[in-house]
Symmetry: C2
Subunit: 252 residues, 2 copies
Amino acid sequence: MPIIGVINEKGGVGKTTTVINLAAALAKQHKVLLVDLDPQANASSGLGLILPENTTYEVLKGEISARQAIVDSNINNLKILPASTELAGANVDIKSTAENMKILSKALIAVRPQFDFIILDSPPSKGALTINAMVAADYLLIPLQTEYYALEGIASVIDTIKRVRASLNPKLDILGILLTMFDVRTNLSQQVEENVREHFGDMVFRTIIPRSIRLAEAPSYGQSIFEFAPSSSGALAYKQLAREVIKRAREA
Amino acid sequence: MPIIGVINEKGGVGKTTTVINLAAALAKQHKVLLVDLDPQANASSGLGLILPENTTYEVLKGEISARQAIVDSNINNLKILPASTELAGANVDIKSTAENMKILSKALIAVRPQFDFIILDSPPSKGALTINAMVAADYLLIPLQTEYYALEGIASVIDTIKRVRASLNPKLDILGILLTMFDVRTNLSQQVEENVREHFGDMVFRTIIPRSIRLAEAPSYGQSIFEFAPSSSGALAYKQLAREVIKRAREA
Ligand SMILES: Nc1ncnc2c1ncn2[C@@H]1O[C@H](COP(=O)(O)OP(=O)(O)OP(=O)(O)O)[C@@H](O)[C@H]1O
Ligand SMILES: Nc1ncnc2c1ncn2[C@@H]1O[C@H](COP(=O)(O)OP(=O)(O)OP(=O)(O)O)[C@@H](O)[C@H]1O
Ligand SMILES: [Mg+2]
Ligand SMILES: [Mg+2]
């Protein structure tokens, strides 16, 4: 089963929120591993993990195996390979050689058979951590906030993916572009949606994630949207996304 | 007069929106230079500059002087040193030596006397571009989205600032923490405000930037909020912020 990287160099577009809630939705019927590659460690803290002992930093430095760093989350069938702020050093420490961009991919080989899905969260940059995620992944999911700067930046994201596919990971494919923080009350969201569907057609998920304050409140309780507000618009949208992701991963 | 860096490693908290609209507000009575250090080049495109010839990339590599890259914006008294996507290479190319972290600071020495304020936009990371901004700056303004992950990350931002002050830029001071995207309808924004004012007291600007769709629409027209929607809540807030920034910079 697939490794899905959730990436976008643009900041604050809903990468972490998508990783946590998609992973939680998939965990209802599948065994899921969430890997946090962001030095901000939002995916780890958003699920209630604070200052974990072993993290992706030690795994990327080759000091411990992925198995030693994986811990349970408070959600059944969802395990986490957490991050810590020390990971910021990795973007500097890891020289950008082709070999170093494959560290994560190699580290996950041993644990991959235990999971049906592995979901990777990445920082808002094109640095070594994000490239490691793109090399380890089979598919990439690109969250796209329905606003001007995020739309403008999408071409650069696609360009980086093409370059990684050509040089480091030939099997890499785009699972889809996910519209996030969609506000039905504004023209801006609708204009961005029209524009994106026109340019990218079927690459765009049918599921749209609405702007919903419940999604922003859930991480302060260390919960996914399904524990925090199970009948909110955000919960329904991520449940629908999970169905669409399973369908796309199967058909690929 | 001061060089103000607008920084926060957390993505999407309103750094670029603050840089553009604060610079535009200050330009009503002062000569202002906006320096775009973000490879996404959002501050450049948000003011209508597309694919500029000379950018901060060439300046940081020492190929041209800052003066050669500075161009007019469509706003009186506001000039821009634009960015381009090639800047992403700088985060990798520039080896993190102390000397290299001073490149921007040195490049701005020659042009500094022409301006009353220089405002720096930076990417969502702790890489070489952001450190260069922190070394060149006299003051830092930290936009803080009133949501959980942004609040959680503030300690790491302050920590990075202390380390840069101790090793590379002893004069560096925090001008203030700016609450952004404040939504009066939600408890989350109010809880974050209470929390931040309790911890950081007077360091927090009195001005709060409300969530306003007009601020998100303006960049698609290449305009600041003052040309796009001069009587909107966003325009009033950034005008007030400019007054508070001038007062803090004078009193420091
Ligand atoms: N659909 C949504 N509705 C409302 N708020 C949301 C939604 N999705 C995310 N948020 C909130 O918006 C902010 C940004 O989202 P998030 O942190 O998930 O983005 P990110 O892309 O992971 O950011 P970064 O680039 O810093 O890693 C967070 O405070 C989050 O709680
Ligand atoms: N006060 C506000 N009200 C509504 N929307 C806002 C506000 N401030 C910023 N935005 C919008 O939110 C998004 C994120 O803001 P912006 O791009 O300025 O953040 P940033 O910190 O510069 O992001 P990055 O980390 O990617 O550089 C943009 O689409 C912007 O138009
Ligand atoms: Mg994130
Ligand atoms: Mg920005």
